[in-house]
Symmetry: C2
Subunit: 353 residues, 2 copies
């Protein structure tokens, strides 16, 4: 292996730590510096990971011992930070969603293309062992032809949001859990079924003190025919599930959300079940279904995404989730928000034209 | 107990036998006769259950040893048969759906009201032990406030429908599995959450030789606030599931569809799991969820619905699923079909006005 790719963390909130826990386990990446506007956060992060720190983004980007940045600043600051990084010739990994507006997503697309730097967006969920296995089972034909996928991502966050928090602001987190959680499952759905063409969403604030949506239900139709349901909820104990309905088998995937942030063991706390006919006859009352547990390969999803970024920086691979893929996810998310707000079915093309 | 209520089976297809298997286990009901246009079916049914038979519906309804009829003729003949039965002063139990048009449903409502006979519709699924338990847990508050319910009913029927079969006809089975399977879950959803106000549905024929829909995905919004998803599918191995998202707990209910027609043991082949916090802290990465199996009371759902009908005939109770309730289910089903066909969100009130 060539030398590790040298990265710096930009934005040092909770998720920067969760991610750094994962990628500092890797030999392919070396964390050399960090930046946040808050000196306290810089100090704590630098100490925790034994890394350098820079007092400004300009100083950090001027370093010649730096290949790329790991960006976890708030969603609406992604575009500005990545434009600056790209202009300085630094590669960029950004936490999902790439942006919360298509204008910002396109600014990022243009900036990284113009600078010729590597860009990837942190849709880690498609890297989970269960998702990789589901994709392989769909591709091999062992569950027949797929008609529907149901994806749910839920936690209790909306019950606790304080008024004034950005998560409660419909501009900063449009659709609430649709932006913050749903974007993961939208990526999974487009990863498994290709582009979404239209969506219908009902959403509203429920059991919360903020004005933003905390619960949404969405149906989606895909270009190649299948349909899907997306449930996103900030008003219940955590759920991350994905069910696939095939002509010869159904798949039921569940992940224990307690282990979401412990990416080295998330797959250990997941289950995938395959349901098929054990016996079938011409008599609709005489058959037997059987549920069988499917082995899941183990992947450290948060480490895996940063390692792939490093390999792409070295030119050994292409980023799986590039700016175009990430922008397509945002378009579906914003189509769902528009559907909910305007009370009508929305074509994704409306937003992309 | 007073003497058993005397019933006759009208329509002697597969489901008439499944139902009779269940209600002939009861002491509250006595099967005295049967009718079908097919003499072979009459002969076989009369022999199987040791009951009389009548060569015409008129002759059957003229019997003075008969209290009520158990109607399982095709959906589009329900209204005519029940009008005739009611006019003859006979009480009527009809298999779901009450009808496939609101005109027919209202003919039935008027006929039974005018005649003052007992009427009930066979929405047996709400009688399953799991559904009764979920309702009790929602009412007691032990899962907090409910935001979303997801209900799925699926089987492989659409893969096998021969061209020309009534199930493949969009007029006789509008929406395909939405009518034939979804109506059960629509009843469950309105039983648990009250009236639906609007729906959005995508549906289409998939992996079938007929022109009718075989797959539909629907989102629903309820008058009292919560939302739901309904998945109905004729293109996969059987699934009957219902998930409830509450502010303090989630419930996951699954029924092994292999045992659907064996109503005395359906509940034994079901599971209900409650997910709640075992431990929670202010740190969003430090908590623990726990899944606990919930005991399900055992109910013979197909026997239970006919026994309730018998008790209502004796005046000991009121029918839980009367014509009004059953018609409300059809209205939601037809709103979903309209949404799918017209590509727009549909208010249920549009159909009821």
């Amino acid at each position: 292996m060539s030398r590790p790719v040298r990265v710096a963390a930009v934005g040092l909130g909770r998720w920067a730590n969760v991610l750094a826990d994962a990628y500092t386990r890797s030999d392919e990446v070396e964390l050399v510096s960090c930046f946040s506007r808050s000196p306290g956060k810089r100090e704590a992060f630098a100490k925790r990971y034994g890394t350098g720190q820079d007092a400004s983004l300009e100083a950090l980007l001027a370093r010649d011992d730096l290949d790329g940045v790991i960006v976890t600043v708030p969603n609406d600051q992604h575009a500005a930070v990545i434009e600056q990084a790209a202009a300085a010739g630094k590669h960029a990994f950004v936490e999902k969603p790439i942006a919360v507006t298509l204008e910002d997503a396109r600014r990022i697309e243009r900036a990284v293309e113009r600078a010729g730097v590597v860009f990837t967006c942190g849709h880690s969920a498609r890297r989970l062992g269960g998702l990789r296995k589901i994709k392989a089972m769909m591709t091999s034909g062992e569950i027949g032809e797929v008609s529907v996928i149901e994806a749910v991502f839920a936690n209790e966050r909306g019950l606790q949001i304080e008024p004034g928090n950005w998560r409660g602001d419909p501009e900063k987190a449009p659709g609430g859990p649709l932006t913050q959680l749903g974007i993961h499952q939208i990526d999974n759905l487009q990863y498994l079924l290709g582009p979404v063409v239209r969506v219908a969403t009902f959403g509203k604030p429920m059991y919360t003190r903020v004005e933003n949506d905390t619960v949404n239900v969405t149906v989606l139709e895909f270009e190649r025919g299948p349909m899907a349901y997306l449930g996103t909820n900030w008003a219940c104990p955590g759920v991350f599930s994905l069910n696939v309905y095939g002509t010869t088998a159904d798949l039921f995937y569940q992940l224990d959300f307690s282990w979401w942030s412990n990416s080295d063991v998330t797959d250990q706390h997941s289950s995938l079940t395959k349901r098929a006919f054990a016996r079938a006859t011409d008599d609709p009352d005489d058959f037997e279904l059987t549920d069988v547990a499917v082995d899941i390969p183990r992947v450290d999803h948060l480490r895996d995404e940063v390692e792939e970024f490093a390999r792409a920086v070295r030119g050994d691979t292409e980023a799986e989730v590039d700016a175009r893929v990430a922008t397509r996810n945002v378009a579906v998310m914003l189509a769902a928000v528009r559907s909910s707000r305007e009370g009508r079915i929305v074509e994704v093309a409306e937003l992309l034209d």
